[in-house]
């Protein structure tokens, strides 16, 4: 590639070469059929979430009491709930909420977790002890219980559920990046970077962090799946979204009284949760294989 473009400015050429690196990963990702299925599922939900207002047949809160608890039909593909609202429309709008919670909470966990993990791994000694014990304490609680406790303190709302989910996932990322930093800082290129007089901060953020990104991306994808489940669980318990927000967990909780009469009210939100989680998990597994350095030559 470099031979083809000797006259390019160095920055563009470097960016092009990095793009090649991702192309390699994409090629090996593509070979994994299940991972591609996962990616397609995720893309479908992302598409639904982005274009929700355009593609949904009805709004999220159009109550038609005459049409309550109707089974799936050509008019309401997935039936209606106890207020006569179209379940398909609510699920599509729900995708917005679940994906939003999933992405934002995981990004929050990654930022905080990476920062703490890098400090712990690179500086070691008392910094490491302090941060690692803090993680240990957090991991000692069952994560769901901790999330419930945090929401109980902050007050139930979708935003607070998101914050709680972000907090409980911090130690997972922190530990992951700490272990990665511990192994990378032993690498000879880090000593070599020090030997050319590089500053600690630059070594941390320009050499150690990018080299520990692959497992973070994989773990992040898988964590989005768990975050979606956790958001649904908090919603189910009434600690997440407020009505009439079409949050999937909340929809499950609202429909549990009609389980016998109208099983579709519960079935379809459940399927939606399952499919997104499955999609992210398949994609995460595929990414793990694609980004595994041992697979490269």
């Amino acid at each position: 590639m470099a031979e083809l473009a000797p006259n390019k400015a160095p920055e563009t050429a470097i960016r092009g070469a990095r793009f090649l690196l991702w192309l390699e990963a994409w090629k090996s990702f593509k070979k994994n059929k299940l991972a591609v299925v996962g990616l397609i599922i995720v893309l479908i939900f992302v598409f639904l979430a982005v274009f929700a207002p355009v593609i949904t047949p009805e709004g999220i809160n159009e109550q038609k009491l005459a049409e309550r608890l109707q089974p799936p039909s050509s008019e309401h593909w997935l039936g209606t709930d106890d207020f006569g609202r179209d379940i398909l429309s609510r699920i599509i709008h729900g995708a917005r909420i679940s994906l939003w919670v999933g992405f934002v909470s995981v990004i929050g966990s990654i930022v905080v977790g990476c920062f703490l993990g890098i400090l712990a791994g690179y500086y070691g000694r008392w910094v490491d002890t302090l941060i690692s014990r803090f993680f240990d304490i957090m991991l000692a609680f069952p994560s769901m219980l901790l999330a419930i406790a945090i929401v109980a303190v902050l007050g139930p709302s979708l935003r607070n559920a998101l914050i709680a989910i972000a907090i409980i996932n911090v130690p997972n990322f922190g530990r992951l990046i700490r272990s990665k930093v511990l192994s990378i800082k032993q690498e000879e290129y880090i000593t070599a970077a020090k030997a050319i007089g590089m500053r600690d901060r630059r070594i941390l953020f320009h050499h150690i962090l990018p080299n520990s990104m692959a497992p973070i991306i994989v773990q992040g994808t898988l964590a989005i799946a768990t975050a979606i489940i956790e958001a649904a669980a908090l919603g189910f318990l009434g600690l997440g979204a407020e009505p009439p927000t079409p949050e999937w967990g909340k929809m499950l909780a609202d429909s549990k009284d009609y389980l016998v009469q109208a099983p579709w009210t519960m079935f379809f939100p459940g399927i939606a949760i399952m499919l997104t989680v499955l999609g992210f998990n398949l994609m995460g597994d595929g990414l793990r294989d694609a980004l595994d350095p041992r697979m490269k030559n």
């Binding site: 470099a2 690498e187 030997a195 050319i196 007089g197 590089m198 080299n211």
Partner: protein
């Protein structure tokens, strides 16, 4: 500090602290390096060669390691006492280092060009364009073909020998006064080894850079070095110019090392090897550290530690065999 020396090491002592016990890895090492000189530090694995070089650079992994004593004079300053930010200015700029494993000494995520220009821009307030031109100039200087194209390539696209050349280019690009090469050819095959050595010799002559070559390979030593320091278990046991070391080695350890080099003119059934291993650092409390492996061991070797004495001009040796002969005279 004598007129022509660029680097002077006095009584350097570096220890590792394991479970509160102090294990000296480098024990009172003294030497000086003259302008434009190539010296070799030779010894088996684990005898303190690499720790010596890391101590000079201030890069001893801490914890558990720590420089506990001595002085390293460079430009009339003791490097062991200067601030970390001052030390950063010296590293790479005035004293550079290259490492044993060219396969892992480059960051796999960045291009060659990126890494060399970064090395320049740390120490020089140049524009990116200037730095890039300089990087290409040095890639050419170390004998790499198609330097411009290489700038955009990743380390995994290069062979070991090419990567070591890149490392040398990166180390030399700020024109340091001293280059420390820690086993630069150990991981390379023989033909590449001699090319890399020739390159270092050429750079030494062209840029007048002093080189400390750390190696366990006496073949490498004989090829390019002027003076040799033989280390054993953290101490210097013999020091002389390269000719003397090969023709009249005086310390039993040096003799053993030289005998262990295969010689094509003199095919023996079995290659000589020094019996035993380097003692675990800190395990020998008194006496000569080589005593247990020495064929000429005497009672006093186990009692007292011999001093490093000069036996003829610059030829110094740490052995009672020679102290005795001096005392008898």
């Amino acid at each position: 500090m004598s007129e022509s020396s660029v680097l002077q090491v006095n009584g350097l002592k570096t220890s590792f602290f394991m479970d509160k016990t102090e294990v000296p890895a480098v024990d009172h090492v003294d030497f000086d390096l003259k302008q434009g000189e190539i010296i070799a530090i030779v010894g088996e694995s684990g005898c303190g060669k690499s720790v010596t070089s890391l101590s000079i650079m201030g890069l001893v992994p801490h914890p558990p390691g720590k420089v506990v004593g001595g002085e390293v004079f460079f430009n009339d300053e003791d490097l062991l006492k200067v601030s970390e930010s001052k030390m950063r200015d010296i590293r790479g700029n005035e004293i550079a280092m290259i490492f044993q494993e060219p396969m892992t000494s480059l960051n796999p995520l960045f291009t060659i060009g990126n890494q060399i220009t970064e090395a320049i821009l740390i120490h020089r307030k140049w524009s990116k364009k200037q730095a890039k031109a300089k990087a290409i100039e040095y890639l050419k200087l170390v004998g790499l073909p198609r330097a411009e194209a290489l700038m955009n390539e990743y380390p995994h696209q290069l062979s070991g020998g090419m990567r070591q050349r890149v490392m040398i280019a990166m180390a030399m690009v700020c024109e340091p006064k001293v280059l420390i090469a820690d086993e630069p050819t150990t991981a390379l095959d023989v033909t590449i080894q001699s090319q890399i050595l020739a390159l270092m010799k050429r750079l030494n002559q062209k840029l007048n850079t002093s080189i400390i070559l750390i190696t366990h390979d006496l073949g490498v030593v004989s090829e390019i070095c002027e003076r040799v320091i033989v280390m054993y278990a953290g101490k210097i046991v013999e020091e002389a110019d390269v000719k003397t070391i090969f023709e009249h080695p005086e310390h039993p350890y040096t003799k053993g090392l030289i005998q262990s080099v295969p010689d094509i003119r003199n095919k023996k059934e079995r290659l000589y090897s020094i019996p035993g291993n380097v003692p675990i650092p800190g395990s020998i409390k008194k006496g000569c550290r080589f005593a247990d492996r020495c064929e000429f061991v005497m009672d006093r070797c186990r009692e007292k530690t011999p001093e490093l004495i000069s036996i003829e001009g610059d030829h110094k040796v740490r052995c009672f065999l020679h102290q005795e002969s001096e005392e008898q005279n």
